[in-house]
């Protein structure tokens, strides 16, 4: 058995445990694959199912979100994520954002960063061929000029989205709260009267900075506070 077979071996063992409803075992097996450095959307998806069956809503949301990053157009992942999100305790209502912004975000999240880059490179190749054709006089007229302009706009746009996604992935560090009733403090220590708010499992939060055993989070509605780092799991 080669080295590459190990994750698949563990994966099928985990799947068998899932079918036998031994969710604890399945969980261990799936987590061990992640531990040794492999990843795949199906792995995270199955892991989410194991967590969901054990009622670890926060962990399940983490796993489905992870799967969704890798495979944004998988309808099963999206469905399970939605079902799990509906079971959260905390609901942070956000004001309705501008529809163009919403559209942009929907488009952006529809492809992974790598898919955006590949798409951008294909369009760029096409553009280069078009320019080549123009220079050798194969295409003439205003129509071919407009097509060239269109291609340029498309290339810039797609690379812009890819850059946006890249910076979003690298600069912000998002995490999912995996424990219930976590008190957020105003500093990285247990103070007396400094509990700012309380969050429950499944809430998404941006991690701004971290100290020993503590992380500073920002909720999507703008609340800021420090929570123990063991109560949040980072999305990569």
């Amino acid at each position: 058995m080669g080295l590459a077979d190990i994750p698949n071996d563990l994966f099928s063992q985990g799947n068998n445990a899932m079918i036998a409803e031994k969710y604890d075992d399945a969980l261990q097996l799936y987590e061990s694959i992640i531990e040794i450095g492999y990843h795949d959307s199906n792995l995270y998806y199955n892991l989410g199912n194991a967590y969901y069956r054990l009622h670890y809503i926060g962990h399940a949301i983490w796993a489905y979100s992870q799967a969704s990053i890798l495979a944004p157009r998988d309808i099963d992942i999206q469905h399970n994520l939605d079902v799990t999100l509906a079971r959260r305790i905390d609901r942070i209502e956000l004001p309705e954002s501008f529809f163009l912004l919403k559209m942009y975000r929907a488009i952006k999240s529809n492809l992974t960063l790598r898919e955006w880059i590949v798409l951008g490179s294909i369009i760029l190749l096409f553009q280069s061929m078009w320019v080549f054709g123009l220079q050798f006089g194969w295409f003439r007229g205003n129509m071919s000029q407009s097509i060239l302009t269109g291609l340029m706009v498309l290339t810039l746009g797609i690379h812009g989205i890819a850059a946006d996604k890249y910076f979003q992935n690298n600069r912000t560090n998002t995490g999912v709260v995996i424990a219930n009733g976590v008190d957020a403090y105003s500093g990285p220590f247990y103070g007396e009267n400094t509990v700012l708010f309380r969050i429950n499992e499944g809430s998404l939060a941006d991690i701004k900075q971290s100290q020993k055993d503590w992380v500073e989070i920002i909720l999507i509605d703008g609340k800021k506070g420090w929570i123990p780092s063991e109560s949040i799991r980072t999305l990569k």
């Binding site: 698949n8 799947n15 795949d40 199955n46 469905h79 305790i89 790598r114």
Partner: protein
């Protein structure tokens, strides 16, 4: 009473004298001294401020009042005496400080009196003593410290009623209070003693700057047999009991300092102060429930430790469930030294929507001082199917219709197809890199191709030059204005594109300079003549007859120029 000690006499006038005295000045720590303030010739008892004395002594009893009246040789002397019984708080040289007070409204001041107090352990008298025993001297906040007060004796004593001291810095739970003092026999270092338990308490340190177990004070009457009264052996056994002498003593246990240990870091987030060993279990009173029909949900915590000193972490019930504040019940298990029991919370829950309801897992961290580690106990989540009620109320749970739909649904099954696992660090795409390189090559390739093959590239300028004639003819056809004007403008536009001039604002002389050397003089002359006649036609009425032909003439001359201009 034998007046042993120091007597201070203060004379205010002939009539009044105040004496302050103690009965002895060398005592053991568990002995008592009597402080006497005697006023001779006064009308009333002395008023004395005893607050200073309380620093080093406990007032065991007093003040006792006594009045003596004497008639000597016809003159009356009255003596009014106040007595206090004092017990020293510590050993060493103690001072009864300067007593001040008033007699019949007149002030007086005494002097300090020195009392030498021996340590009771040094004293040979070890017949009666109290010990406060603790099971540990180092404790975490909230860890139980069991304190037992024991009385050891090998003489007959009688104990006066006593109270356990206050325990500042501790939360106290009484474990044992004797109804009747019972003695057991023990032998310590070859000496037989009888030992009695005077009370047992569980102490739980709470945050405070001082954790000291204070001493217990008990007043006892010690019976001392009179020595050497063997006059008549016949009577002795019987009369002995009548001839015993009692001595009052105050027994104190030693103060004990409890050292507080700090919890190891990191502290779990769901720690709410529980120290000991606990297990929590939750249950509901039924398996299914209907909408708007209440059921009870019970969490019970069984364990040993500081029960009652902490609460459960707050429970967040799902939003479609209405919860009422719980009732709290605590049952103490009395047959143990450690505080053990079951604490339970009972919630009434009313579901507001039908569907599968999950009461979340409840978890709590506690510190186990026996192993010195953090532990966590948690309940399993409880799933209850909620059947639709008889009348469905409009719910105000804040869920959208889509979310309610989703809550009713189950997740989809796992994906079991074998997958190609990627290493999670791998981020770049080789396809994209290959495509980028290809496009770069294609972008730069025309430059090289033209260099080596001499092919004329289609630049925008080249396209303009080639399209110059077409642009000019188009202007002739579609231009607006007078025919002469159109004709000359069309030629200038043609020339501008053909020669890549910056502007088409030209006149015949600038055309001459531009085209000079590029075409033959004959052609140039033809062009110039035509342009001049256009100008003439524009500004003078004379050229009217040429108006009809000027456009065709210009077209043919432009076609000719396009051919000849290199």
């Amino acid at each position: 009473m034998r007046l042993f000690g120091i007597i201070f006499v203060f004379t205010f006038s002939i009539a009044q004298t105040v004496q302050i005295s103690v009965d002895r000045s060398r005592i053991a720590q568990d002995d008592l001294i009597t402080l006497t303030v005697e006023v001779t010739g006064g009308k009333d008892f002395a008023k004395v401020d005893m607050n200073q004395v309380k620093k080093d002594f406990d007032i065991v009893s007093g003040p006792g009042q006594q009045t003596n009246i004497q008639w000597i040789n016809g003159s009356m002397t009255s003596t009014k005496t106040l007595t206090w019984t004092l017990s020293p708080k510590r050993d060493g040289i103690l001072l009864i400080p300067t007593l001040s007070g008033t007699v019949d409204g007149k002030p007086f001041r005494g002097k300090t009196i020195q009392i030498h107090v021996r340590n009771s352990e040094e004293s040979s008298d070890n017949s009666v003593f109290i010990v406060g025993e603790v099971d540990t001297k180092k404790a975490y906040l909230g860890e139980q410290v069991t304190l037992t007060y024991k009385l050891y004796k090998n003489e007959n004593i009688s104990i006066e009623p006593f109270q356990l001291p206050e325990f500042p810095g501790f939360w106290v739970e009484e474990l044992y209070t004797p109804q009747r003092i019972q003695y057991r026999n023990v032998t310590i270092k070859g000496v037989k003693y009888q030992v009695a338990n005077l009370g047992q308490v569980a102490l739980f340190p709470i945050p405070s700057n001082k954790h000291i177990i204070p001493s217990l004070k008990v007043k006892v009457q010690v019976e001392k047999r009179k020595q050497k009264r063997r006059r008549d052996p016949f009577f002795d056994p019987f009369f002995d009991s009548f001839f015993t002498e009692t001595k009052t003593k105050v027994l104190r246990s030693k103060e004990t300092k409890i050292e507080i240990q700090s919890f190891p870091d990191p502290r779990p987030f769901d720690f709410s102060g529980a120290v000991g060993s606990f297990k929590i279990v939750s249950s509901t009173d039924r398996d299914t429930a209907k909408v708007n029909e209440g059921f009870t949900f019970t969490i019970s915590m069984k364990g040993t430790g500081n029960l009652g000193l902490f609460s459960l972490p707050e429970i967040k019930f799902p939003e479609d469930l209405e919860a009422f504040p719980p009732t709290d019940k605590f049952e103490k298990d009395t047959f143990r030294d450690d505080l053990t029991g079951t604490q339970s919370w009972e919630y009434i829950l009313i579901p507001r929507t039908a569907g599968n309801l999950t009461i979340p897992r409840i978890q709590m961290s506690y510190f186990d001082p026996k192993v010195g580690r953090w532990q966590r106990t948690q309940t399993d989540p409880i799933e209850i199917p909620i059947l639709p009620g008889d009348t469905e109320l409009t719910h105000g749970s804040g869920l959208t219709k889509r979310e309610i739909e989703l809550i009713g649904q189950d997740i989809r099954f796992i994906h079991t197809n074998p997958v190609e696992f990627g290493l999670s660090k791998e981020g770049r795409s080789n396809t994209a890199i290959f495509l980028y390189l290809c496009s770069m090559l294609i972008f730069v390739s025309p430059t090289f191709i033209s260099k080596y093959t001499g092919h004329r590239l289609s630049t925008s300028e080249g396209r303009k030059i080639r399209g110059a004639l077409r642009t000019g003819l188009k202007e002739l056809k579609n231009g607006t204005g007078e025919p002469f004007e159109i004709a000359s403008r069309a030629f200038y536009i043609f020339l501008k594109d053909k020669l890549s001039l910056p502007s088409h604002n030209l006149d015949p002389s600038s055309v001459e300079t531009c085209l000079n050397k590029r075409i033959s003089n004959e052609s140039l002359n033809n062009i110039l003549t035509l342009l001049k006649s256009c100008d003439a036609g524009k500004y003078a009425p004379g050229g009217l007859e040429r108006e009809a032909t000027i456009l065709t003439e210009m077209a043919s001359i432009m076609k000719h120029a396009d051919r000849v201009i290199v």
